[in-house]
């Protein structure tokens, strides 16, 4: 379903969504972050891309799995803690982040479903904002089958035009949101349609960064396990994990027990973000570490995204949002690395 919404009506519509928790991009220091908001009059002109991607709402940095308690005579007593029941609308999600959810779903909803993720996924409504102009200097979604107007993972995609938003309603969830204030949504005219298409074309022409020949990458990668490239490229890596923490698709976590009282024992089992870039991530209790150095960990990051995930799920686990490129403190550049990989195959 396609609609248009007057720019001035955005705030009215959002005000109608009282039953939801609303999230939208909020400026913090030097960047944008999805924070809870009470209203949304417009998307600020300088809104680019949030810093921590949407995954922070679906896979929060700390998720309580259950509580345990030693009730003196009966031994431990467990209490499952599931995510709160509350529906959340997130505004201004860029296509790359929305595609990130689709990839996360592959992991968390396949085989043994992860009920925490699933519950949150069900409750989250994604209202996207297409990318014109490109929000980031390192955007390269186009090389990975995405694009500045991609709708994957979205319930609604908004495109900012002259005086209105072009509204693509993509799922029943999206329809539900529109229904909250149907009077603000109109059918698009042909001109609207054309403007929308034109913007997309313009946006697609703006990309400065790209991978040449993505399709070559995974066959080449499978031959590159022992390549010296990993050592060279990882020399300056800080093993900080920013690249993965901020990645919309990275999802590694740790599970730990947090104790609030020792006597009687009381605590929570939680899962917290973790990353393959941390040295102890794979370290056995004995100290043996299958990925002992920065090179093997960088290799894991690239291989997981561009080879292993492809082998398992038939998709690349990177949406081209460019965060890891922009945010890496030492300029480790996945686009550059992939181009090098691709050129190995050439």
């Amino acid at each position: 379903m396609e609609k248009v919404l007057k720019k001035s009506d955005l705030g009215q519509w959002v005000a109608r969504l009282k039953d939801f928790d609303l999230y939208g991009p909020v400026r913090e220091n030097n960047h944008w972050e999805f924070n809870q908001i009470s209203q949304l009059a417009n998307f600020p002109e300088d809104y680019t891309q949030v810093n921590v991607p949407l995954k922070k709402i679906l896979l929060p940095n700390r998720e309580v799995l259950f509580q345990f308690e030693d009730n003196r005579n009966g031994g431990p007593y467990l209490q499952e803690v599931l995510p709160e029941e509350r529906e959340v609308v997130v505004f201004g999600v860029r296509p790359c982040d929305a595609r990130g959810i689709v990839l996360l779903e592959k992991v968390f909803s396949s085989e043994i479903p992860d009920i925490y993720f699933e519950r949150r996924r069900q409750q989250v409504y994604v209202v996207g904002l297409s990318c014109y102009p490109l929000p980031g200097e390192n955007c390269f979604c186009l090389s990975l089958g995405g694009g500045p107007f991609s709708t994957k993972g979205m319930d609604i995609l908004l495109t900012k035009m002259q005086s209105k938003y072009f509204v693509e309603v993509l799922t029943p969830k999206g329809e539900k949101l529109i229904k909250a204030a149907p009077e603000y949504f109109f059918n698009p005219t042909d001109k609207d349609q054309q403007e929308r298409q034109q913007l997309e074309r313009k946006a697609r022409a703006m990309f400065t960064r790209q991978i040449e020949g993505v399709e070559k990458i995974w066959p080449v990668l499978s031959q590159m396990f022992e390549s010296p490239l990993w050592r060279e490229e990882s020399y300056r890596c800080l093993k900080c994990g920013i690249c993965t923490y901020l990645c919309p698709t990275c999802h590694c976590f740790d599970i730990t027990d947090e104790i609030s009282s020792t006597a009687p024992l009381q605590g929570k089992r939680v899962r917290v973000w973790d990353t393959c870039q941390f040295p102890d991530f794979t370290m056995h209790s004995s100290g043996h570490n299958p990925r002992p150095d920065k090179a093997s960990r960088l290799r894991q990051r690239i291989m997981h995204k561009f080879l292993y995930f492809v082998e398992t799920f038939g998709d690349i686990m990177c949406t081209g949002c460019g965060r890891c490129v922009s945010k890496c403190p030492v300029g480790i550049d996945i686009i550059d690395i992939l181009n090098k990989v691709a050129s190995h195959g050439a």
Binding site: L134, Y235, R236, C240, Y245, T256, M283, S286, G287, P329
Partner: protein, 343 residues
């Protein structure tokens, strides 16, 4: 002016003569102008070395990493490392010397002057010239920074684009070095930080709110610690991710590891993490500003270190990294140390 050709010459000589096992310096990064750290091992690669206002990194970190790496080797390469150091970086070297982490002979310091200027804060510059293609960034006159954008030169006054730490820097040329490139133009030594001033002027609740807002964003990625050359500990006391497990570590030892804080990025835990780190860096932090630069959440952590830097000076006349022979801040005292806070 630092002539980069001279740095290259020296690096080439050192490598050709086999005097060093490598030269840690800056090279042009994959994203154009922005320099990145690199280790040059062959004389042929020396021409990759650059020196310009984007050379923000504190390369001493890689000295630390190399040291650890060599310690793991069965047959360590005992030759020294050459490393390019700015003023702040050289102070970091001094702290490492003071703490006997390295010996003076292990490094050949290629000192560079910050040209009476400093390094560029990428975020500041990108706010001024959004999404344009910057071709080159070089030093201009009087501390100005010149950026070539789409073939055009734009001159920025230092206060607009320099990193905060450089604006507040007290040693903009190395305090210890073997070779020196550029001129020693001494900037006014101002032990001030407008950022710290601002917080000090706040009321208590405002300060609390300020830090709560900032630290609540901390992801505990530990990038601030990973980048810090002073955080070279084998195992960090406040973080559960860098265990020093060796074959001889017993099960009991592992079981007895203290969890001073939880791994979860709870606000309280973030506070404790940053407070411990601040205390641990008191008298050791050389204000290279790297921790703040790398923080993906733009948390002004430097202001914690800066506060303690100020207090160490005010209370104990101590400045980190100036003298590799002096005892460190907390391993000495004076009879006259202030004690008016004690009852």
């Amino acid at each position: 002016m630092v002539e980069v050709e001279k740095i290259r010459e020296e690096a080439r000589r050192l490598l050709q003569e086999g005097q060093v096992r490598g030269v840690i310096g800056y090279v042009r990064g994959p994203q154009g102008v922005w320099a990145v750290p690199a280790m040059i091992r062959n004389p042929e690669d020396v021409d990759r070395l650059v020196w310009n206002p984007t050379c923000v990194h504190n390369l001493v970190l890689f000295v630390v990493e190399e040291k650890k790496e060599q310690a793991r080797q069965k047959e360590p390469d005992k030759r020294p490392l050459a490393v390019v150091v700015k003023g702040c970086d050289s102070r970091a070297i001094n702290v490492l010397l003071q703490e006997k982490f390295i010996e003076r002979e292990e490094v050949i310091l290629l000192g560079v002057s910050c040209e009476n200027s400093g390094v560029v804060d990428k975020k500041k510059l990108l706010n001024l010239v959004p999404s344009q293609k910057i071709e080159e960034i070089v030093y201009g006159n009087n501390g100005h920074i010149v950026a070539v954008i789409d073939g055009e030169r734009r001159v920025f006054p230092p206060e607009e684009v320099l990193a905060d730490r450089c604006l507040e820097c007290q040693a903009n040329f190395p305090v210890v070095y073997d070779h020196f490139f550029g001129e020693k133009i001494k900037k006014e030594a101002i032990n001030t930080s407008p950022g710290v001033d601002k917080i000090e002027k706040m009321r208590l609740e405002e300060r609390r709110r300020f830090w709560e807002e900032e630290l609540s964003r901390c992801l505990r990625c530990y990038a601030c610690r990973s980048v810090c050359p002073m955080c070279y500990c084998t195992e960090c006391v406040v973080d559960p991710i860098s265990f020093a497990v060796e074959p001889t570590t017993t099960a009991e030892e592992k079981a007895k590891k203290i969890k001073w804080i939880e791994k979860s990025p709870l606000l309280s835990e973030n506070f404790v993490y940053h407070l411990v780190r601040a205390i641990h860096l008191a008298g050791r932090c050389v204000d290279c500003g790297e921790c703040e630069r790398v923080c993906p959440e733009d948390i002004p952590i430097r202001l914690l270190n800066k506060k303690l830097e100020r207090e160490a000076w005010r209370l104990f006349n101590y400045v980190a990294g100036m003298d590799s022979q002096a005892p460190s801040l907390f391993s000495t005292f004076k009879e006259t140390d202030p004690e008016d806070f004690i009852r």
